[in-house]
Structures are given as C-alpha cells and as structure tokens.
Symmetry: C2
Subunit: 334 residues, 2 copies
Amino acid sequence: MATIYQVSELAKVSLATVSRVMNGNAKVSDKTREKVLSAMKELGYRPNSIAQSLASSRGNSIGLLVAELDGAFFGEMMAGVESELRAAGKHIIVTTGHSIEDKEKEGIEFLISRNCDAIILHVEAVSDEYLVELSKGTTPIFIISRYVEDLAEQCISLDNELGGYLATKSLLELGHTEVACIAGPQYKFDAKARFKGYKRALAEYNIPFKEELFYSADFKETGGSEGIAHIMKQQHKFTGLICGNDEMASGAMNYARENGLSLPEDLSVVGFDDVIFARYIHPKLTTILNPVNEMGKMAAKLVLQKIYQIKEPNIQQIFKPSLIVRDSTKLLTN
Amino acid sequence: MATIYQVSELAKVSLATVSRVMNGNAKVSDKTREKVLSAMKELGYRPNSIAQSLASSRGNSIGLLVAELDGAFFGEMMAGVESELRAAGKHIIVTTGHSIEDKEKEGIEFLISRNCDAIILHVEAVSDEYLVELSKGTTPIFIISRYVEDLAEQCISLDNELGGYLATKSLLELGHTEVACIAGPQYKFDAKARFKGYKRALAEYNIPFKEELFYSADFKETGGSEGIAHIMKQQHKFTGLICGNDEMASGAMNYARENGLSLPEDLSVVGFDDVIFARYIHPKLTTILNPVNEMGKMAAKLVLQKIYQIKEPNIQQIFKPSLIVRDSTKLLTN
DNA sequence: CGATACTTGGTAAATGGTTGCCATGATTTT
DNA sequence: AAAATCATGGCAACCATTTACCAAGTATCG
C-alpha cells in the first residue's frame, strides 16, 4: 500500500504539501495540487484512515449500536442513520447489543476504543445511570428510541405511551370493550410505556384492566402467538387486541386464524411500529406509525450538528406516533 | 483515556510486560499479571484499538459490505456473519453499496482503508474483473451470494439456477402450464440465474417461453405489483406465477387480490428466499429456501479459517436451495 | 524595483500501541 | 555449585499520518 511519503516523492513535493492537499485546510496552488493528485492516482494511494484517526484523534466515523441486525425495525433505523451520515461523508460502524446488558456494554466499549467521533445507541438492557455515567466520558453519546431524563439533549425518542393510548382508544371508539393486550417485555422502556398508554385509554373509558386479557412476551412473532394462545385459554371473551409491535400482531393473527377465528370479523387487531410488511400481511394491519427511519435520520442530524458543527434546521427530538387505519380492525357489531 | 504508559507506571512494571499481559504471547507470572490487571481496572484502561491496529497492522475486525441495511434478506445475512464472528471475538464493520457501482467501490475503499483483516462482500454492481483485481491487493476478500469463477475459493454462493428451476417445476407438477415470471433486475447475477432456471423447467416440460408472461423489475414489493399489473394487461391467461423474491411475491399477491383474483384459487404464487415474513403473509407463501443466514455464517467461518487459522470443520461453499410448500400454491383444477 | 502576500519545504514531535533484542536477575535443574 | 531456564526491564524502531513552526522561494502589485 502506498504511503504519503511515496506520493510526496513521486510528485516531488513535500510531505506537508501532500497533507495540505488531502485536508484542504491550507492554500495550495492548482498546479501542485494537480501534481499531487496525479501522483496519488498513479500509485493508487488511499489514505490509511487508521493512521489518520490515530494522529488526529478524529475518526470521521460514527458508531451505531443496535439490538439486532435483522428485524425490520432495526433495519429501518440503521438505514435512516446511514443515509443521512453518508450524505455528509461520514461512515458508520455498526455493532450489536442483543438487548443483553453485558453485550451492550461490550459493544459500547468497542465503539469507543475505535475512536468514533460519536456513538448512537439503541440500548435496552443498560440502565439510565450507566448512560449518564457514560456521557461524562470523552466520546459523545446519542440515544435513539429511548428517553433519558438527564440526557434529554442527546435523545431522540418516541412518545410510546401516547402510541399505546392511541392504539387502544381506536378500538374503544369502534365499540370494543373487551380489549386484550399482548405487550412486549416489561423490562423494556418502550414496551412498558405502550402498556401504560393501554391502561390510560381503558381508564378513560371506565373499563377495568383485566389480568386475564394481558400477556407480556418477546417482541417477536412467537411472542404474539404465545400471547394469544395464553389469553384464549382464559375463556374470557374478547373482540379487540392490541399488540406490542407488528411482529407480535402478525404471530397472533396467524394463531387466531388457525384456531378458528376469522379476521377482522371475530377479532380486531392493532399493531405497533408500521414496519414495512405491516401492509403485506392479511388483513392489512391497522397499526401505530413509529417513524423509526425518520428518527434514525434525526439522530444523524443531531450528530452532524453537535459534533461536526454542520447546522441542521428542524431538529426534533420527541416524535409523536399516529394511527394508521387499515383492514385488521372493524366496528364492533353484535 | 488511560494509556499503556500509565498502566505500566501504576503497576510498576515495564511497558513490555503490560503488552505481554494484554496479548498473552509470552509468559508472565501470575503475580505480575495480577498487578497489571488491577492497575488496568483502577484506571479504567481500555486499549485503543486504533493504535493497536496501526502498530500491528491487524484490526481484529472484518469489513462487511451489503447492498442495504434494511430488508429482511440483508438483515439475516448480516446477522449470520456477525454472530459467528463475534463468537470468535471479532468485530464487524458494516457499510453499504446500494447496488450502485460507485458506492460499492467507495464502500470497499473505506473498509480497506480501515485496515480490516478481511472483507466480506455482497456486491451486485461491480464486475467480476474488478473483484479479481481487488483480490490481488493486500486485503483478502470473500464474496457472499455470488459466484466468481476465478475466485471460487473465496465465494459462498447459492445455486440460483436450481432455485428458479425448482420453483417453476413445482408449479408445472401441479398441472399449471401457463406460468408467468416476474424476475429481478437482469443485470443482477442471481436474478438472471433464477430466470434461467425458470426457462429450463419450462423447456423440460415442452412449454414455450412466452414474452407476455415475463416481466423484470426491482426486487421490491413495488416491483412485484408493477410486474403483475403489466402481465395482467397482456390478456394472456395464466394460473401460475413465480417471483424473483418474496417481497415481489408479496407485492404481486396484494395487487392480484385487489384486482379480483382470489388466492390461491385463481393464481398459484411461488416466491424466493423464504425471508422471515414469508410465512406471515396470507396465504402463507410457498417459496424457495435461500439459507442466507447459514451462508452468512459460512462466510464468517471461511474467514476464521483462512485468516485467523481457526480450523472450521464442514466448510461448504455452494448451497442448494430447496422448495418450501405452504399455502400459496395449489393443484390446478379445471 | 522593492514591499507584500502566498505557496512550499523541511523538520520534528506526537498519536498509542507492537515487536524484537539484549541484558539482568531470579529460580530451577542437574 | 555450575548450568540452564524463566520472567522481566529497558530500549528503540516502527506503523502512517497530523500538526505546528519557521525559513525560503516566488508571484503580484503599485
């Protein structure tokens, strides 16, 4: 691999001049710039970003930690972050946390040790205190899809409680009174908040919360089928169901159909997130729009603004979910 | 951030000893190791992997380039690579190519400049020649989901032609004779091979290929709906459809249903890939299993073996697709 | 023509480690 | 007790680049 020395030699200019050409922070005449560039081309020179990073203690890269690499939700989030950052010439380094505290911490360590200019975190297992502590370190952190009170400035989050409320209310407004809920894992902030919204809506309609109509499981298809299986076993009639996310809704709907219910006639279902395939399941899923992609972009903008001083208009830190009505819910008729 | 100097100072040992403890490549007595470790802990020392990488010209990281960060297919692939590599203590650096030649090249440049020990590529726009040339460089490359003759040793690929053949044959065996095909972009290797398999199956059954029943579009839902819209306009009756991938199948099915066809009664559809949501669309999709996740893992194993000399049993480089029968296809009855 | 502003050269330190060498002292083996 | 082995120290070179500094050369301009 060619080095800057060889370039300077071939171009017959000094080391410093090569560096000047590369970084554009000092004036260089067109003629010499040309010489340097063509020498680079001839040698196939490519700056060693590791050495650059070490010497300048800047990385031109942003770390991104997500729970999983697969999953529609994370995909959209990553894509949002990446597109915005790449447009600004920055690269991302992605790693995973798998929603396990130790792995999340390890991932963070890795990103920090990699000299990232900043890191964007989507973490679920790690405590607020840990994040606050972390934010005191030298690597700036930004948090996506989670709200940490003391770090509000660096958070991009969704009003999950409102989402849960809207989802539930939409069924109540359609006349349903027995509305079950299959929530995500209750140690997860967003799952908990969505559930809280569910209860608020019930309360508003003077409907008592019923333990038999509640189940908490994994944010996955299997969680959904497991949840509805459990609830159906309780023998408590219900005509509405709200789910922790779209995957769960999908799993629940399949199970329900396989067990003799027709949708949406016998059961109205509301999902959460509006991931890409929500409109491809049948019946098309009524769900809560979670603008993850937008939020990813916004996190990137926040980084550009705060770290690279690129001013970004219209920074928005708290996003509001909204209801998307499709075919999986219907007016209760008896 | 603490440095190795501060550690050596606090532990009252030499620089070399600290390095010995970290890398475990020379004997260190338990006593001194203990001293060093506790000093590290006290200082919160974290090795600077950038400096390590520069000094040792090893990165302990593997570059991974995928077309997109979202999309079920890429997600599974990334997850496969990551899980295997992480289990071996290696990290991945992910970037994207968006199936655009320049972006793919730029992504590759980035990964190389990042001193990755090896890079795993899922590229579609770049030519075979370019890859061969690239493989002569200092950074070893591995190619996933594509077969390059001259680089066979470094490829993990799927027999796409066989997949296309199996998909088509499954419909022919069910008595369908008018089988349409909505293929992916024909500049993509896998899309082309699948289409080739489609034609081989037709030929085997002495059914001529009909231009009216063919369309090539984006590997997306919109590609699928666009494709079926086009074919339906041709007014040539057909009872079977094979699609370039599951997303396209999903798009086509929705469009078909919205335009009066009932599935699978009027039209049998076969997808390709068996991404996670194939079984959650309705009717559940009959499709070709593309073991991307496995292939991702295998690519990682190949890297572990060839680069880190960790011997991996059961390396398999060419994967065979297989048919998964679900509810979207049925025997043709007239 | 001389003053001024720009462009460039050359040098050297710094970034945070790795790696190999040789010397030294301690410990174990014979 | 001499010899061999082992653990450590101390040193220096190296990785590819950035950055600051000063000196020197060269246009440009009035």
